[in-house]
């Protein structure tokens, strides 16, 4: 075997990892050079997270070995991995909800004194957050933070520990475009300090803008490894999925029907009585997709939650098919045909300890044909239904009986999407539906949402990606500080106009 070149920092050779029913990694080789960013790509369930969890010491490989600076190392625990200077941001948050930001950041640190000097720690956190412009209050509890803020805490954890090799597993999947840009800036800063990174993402623009090399996994195997320079998003996407990706939506002409969902002067207040949604009036027609753009935290969550019955309106009226739905229970709304793809899918969308099949029927188990008239569920019908959904939405799972928590991050997303899109009975509220999905799955989810609209459903699509809104939606409303800045025609507007409205300028027909 040739001697590894000086610039090679880390090498994985012939790494294999099996889980019941799947080979997550099949003799994978991977090489990371000093000071470079390696983009690790692949479809949902390709084995990216598993491979990185092996480096982080969470999983033990069944075969293969790892060398760092030419020396063979054994990583038996996260502790070993940290000692080698490896730090990882996991795909799902690794934060203790009931502890403060500062406590989470120092958790598990080896050289922490018996009585952690919290004042000093907080000072250091504030210093680091200034340096990398990661604004968080070290005294807040994690459960009080938005997903974006939680991600900042994760990054702070890495920089606080001074990791040399950064593993970032889809860190921008849950972030707004602005936050993603900030994060990418931070990563550049860290690289300029001599660190190296392995970056997992499904966003092609990120791959092209700051990775030096790419490696593509498909079904646990490496299918390509090359320099980023000289590849195109199209090529990368095709390598990942193994088929042609069109990046195009099949959409019937826009022919709206009757008004379906009407909001009239809806206002929502937070627990302190501050209005977070101010006097919102809008109408979604049958066969229409209303996109909602805006920087995260400008009332989008409240808007979707007040519609789906998860938050109370203090004033205003919501009607669905001319029936009053203001402040109705979620179950009532579900029965009226409302589907909801929530932003916080871990907490609201899925029961990890239940099987894929049971999660898929969760909205249908009350009625025939899944259950008998007396409420007894038919196991065979559940499986028949689940199998159909799994193949239609291409959910990668060993069996319908597999517990959802064992699926890859993207496939957990697909399970929720499949359930909600399938059960849609006229109204679909979709929040960031393509988060965490690979290019192929993103394409099919967008097509599925459009298919619902073509079947006369009224769709509210909250997204942070203007490209998504422009290609999928019929009309786009922009939110700013809890107010609707206006609604514009998706066919005639452009990113500049939307950008201005997102910054607080009124436009369209407000």
């Amino acid at each position: 075997m040739e001697k590894s070149s000086v610039s090679t920092l880390l090498k994985m050779e012939g790494v294999t990892k099996r889980f019941p029913g799947v080979i997550a990694n099949d003799r994978v080789d991977l090489e990371l050079h000093n000071g470079e960013v390696l983009a690790l790509l692949g479809e949902n369930g390709a084995g990216k997270s598993t491979l990185m969890n092996i480096l982080a010491g969470l999983y033990r490989p069944d075969e293969g070995f790892i060398t760092i600076r030419g020396e063979k190392v054994s990583i038996h625990s996260p502790q070993d991995s940290m000692h080698l200077g490896i730090g990882m941001i996991h795909q799902e948050f690794m934060l203790v909800q009931t502890m403060t930001v500062a406590e989470n950041i120092v958790l598990g640190l080896q050289d922490l004194p018996l009585i952690p000097p919290m004042a000093e720690i907080k000072r250091k956190i504030i210093e680091l957050s200034d340096r990398y412009s990661l604004k968080v209050d070290p005294d807040r509890f994690i459960y009080e933070l938005s997903v974006g803020e939680q991600q900042r805490v994760e990054i702070l954890k890495l920089v606080y520990r001074g990791a040399e090799v950064l593993i970032l597993d889809e860190p921008t999947a849950v972030l707004t475009p602005q936050e993603s840009r900030d994060l990418n800036g931070i990563i550049k800063t860290m690289l300029s300090e001599g660190k190296s990174a392995i970056f997992i993402t499904h966003k092609m623009d990120e791959v092209l803008s700051f990775s030096h090399r790419v490696q593509v996994l498909r079904q646990g195997k490496t299918v390509a490894a090359c320099k980023t320079e000289g590849t195109t998003p199209q090529e990368l996407a095709n390598m990942m999925v193994g088929r042609e990706i069109l990046f195009k939506i099949k959409k019937a002409p826009y022919r709206p029907g009757e008004p379906k969902l009407i909001l009239d002067g809806v206002t929502v207040e937070d627990p302190t009585g501050r209005p977070v949604l101010k006097d919102i009036s809008l109408t979604i027609y049958e066969g229409e997709i209303l996109g909602i753009a805006g920087v995260a935290g400008n009332g989008q969550t409240e808007l979707t939650e007040v519609i789906t019955g998860l938050q109370k309106a203090v004033s205003g009226r919501i009607t669905l098919d001319s029936q009053d739905m203001t402040n109705k229970q979620p179950l009532h709304l579900i029965k009226a045909g409302m589907s909801h793809i929530p932003a916080d899918r871990g907490a609201m969308g899925i029961v990890g300890d239940m099987s894929v099949a049971d999660n898929l029927v969760m909205k249908r188990y009350r009625s025939e044909p899944i259950a008998s008239r007396h409420g007894v569920m038919h196991a065979t019908k559940i499986f028949g239904f689940a199998k159909k959904m799994i193949s239609f939405f291409k959910i990668a799972t060993p069996k319908p009986e597999t517990l959802v928590k064992f699926l890859s991050g993207g496939n957990i997303q697909k399970t929720i999407l499949a359930r909600e899109i399938d059960s849609c009975g006229g109204v679909l509220i979709a929040v960031y539906p393509s988060r965490g999905l690979d290019v192929g799955a993103t394409e099919s989810v967008r097509n599925n949402i459009v298919a619902q609209r073509d079947k006369k459903a009224a769709v509210l699509l909250v997204s942070e990606e203007l490209d998504e809104l422009l290609s999928v939606a019929d009309k786009i409303g922009v939110m700013f500080e809890g107010e609707l800045m206006g609604i514009v025609d998706a066919a005639t507007t452009n990113k500049e106009e939307l950008g201005m409205m997102m910054a607080g300028m009124r436009g369209g027909n407000a």
């Binding site: 690794m94 203790v96 502890m99 598990g108 640190l109």
Partner: protein, 317 residues
Amino acid sequence: MQLITTLLAVTLSAGTSLLYATIGEIYTERSGILNLGVEGMMMMGALSAFAVSFYTGSLFLSLIVAMLVGGSLALLHAFLSISMRANQVVSGLSITLFGTGLASYLGQRLGPESNGFNLAGMTASNFQKIQIPFLGDIPILAAFFNQDVLTYMLFLIVPLSWYFMYRTKHGLSLRSVGENPRTASAMGISVAKVRYLYTVIGGMLVGLGGAHLTLAYTPGWSENVTGGRGWIVIALVIFAGWNPSRAVFGAVLFGGINAIQFRLQAAGTMIPASFLNMAPYVVTVVVLALMTIIGKKKKGKYSSPSALGNAFSIEDK
């Protein structure tokens, strides 16, 4: 005034064993392990402490043995629920059945021949009340300073436990393991090690609680010496919101009603004795239930460790 002082003093003494066991169980549950073996461990602690004191006369040795016995039973529970990944409820209940059964058996075998090998009815050296000079003379306050060594030790153990859990590095690890073992593990904390450690420490404290019953509160061995206190402890932990300092209120509540109830029985009232005997349990459970319902409104702070009762392995997510 004298009556209040006396009642308060009895209350504190009655609450001591409960408080030891409650704090022990809080340590255990904070790590995510539910140990329903408290009743059994307490019983074994009570028996072994008394037997050692009876034969050696050394109170110090008695306490050590009670801790070892409580700790060993807890170690068994830890092994079953952490290493063997057994159902923690089943494992804990077995420990209670085993502990109470063994204690009652040994109580009839370890005694002197003259008493038919029975320990019941024997006397052994026990902890005496120690009056702290000056402080022990002030009315009301005297109740706090007319106690035995084990109760005095609680004056230290309670605040130290609170400080340990909320202000030290190890407390941070302990809480994180019970709350989110996956995260703790990813941060380099050995979940299994932490769980073993605090389950055993918890068992030791429960053993001490048992020892207080036979060596201080009601000196002497009898088959039903714990009187179901192990179960009250499980409720107290919930009431305390897994917080050692809040545990004091629950223990004092139970101890207090117990003290009043004894007084009433001694004074001879119309109320049947069985009702009076029942009172501490009923009142404690009712008050705890009410407090828990009210406490629910405060999010997060007093809720159970999220991973309580769940076996953990990183590959199982």
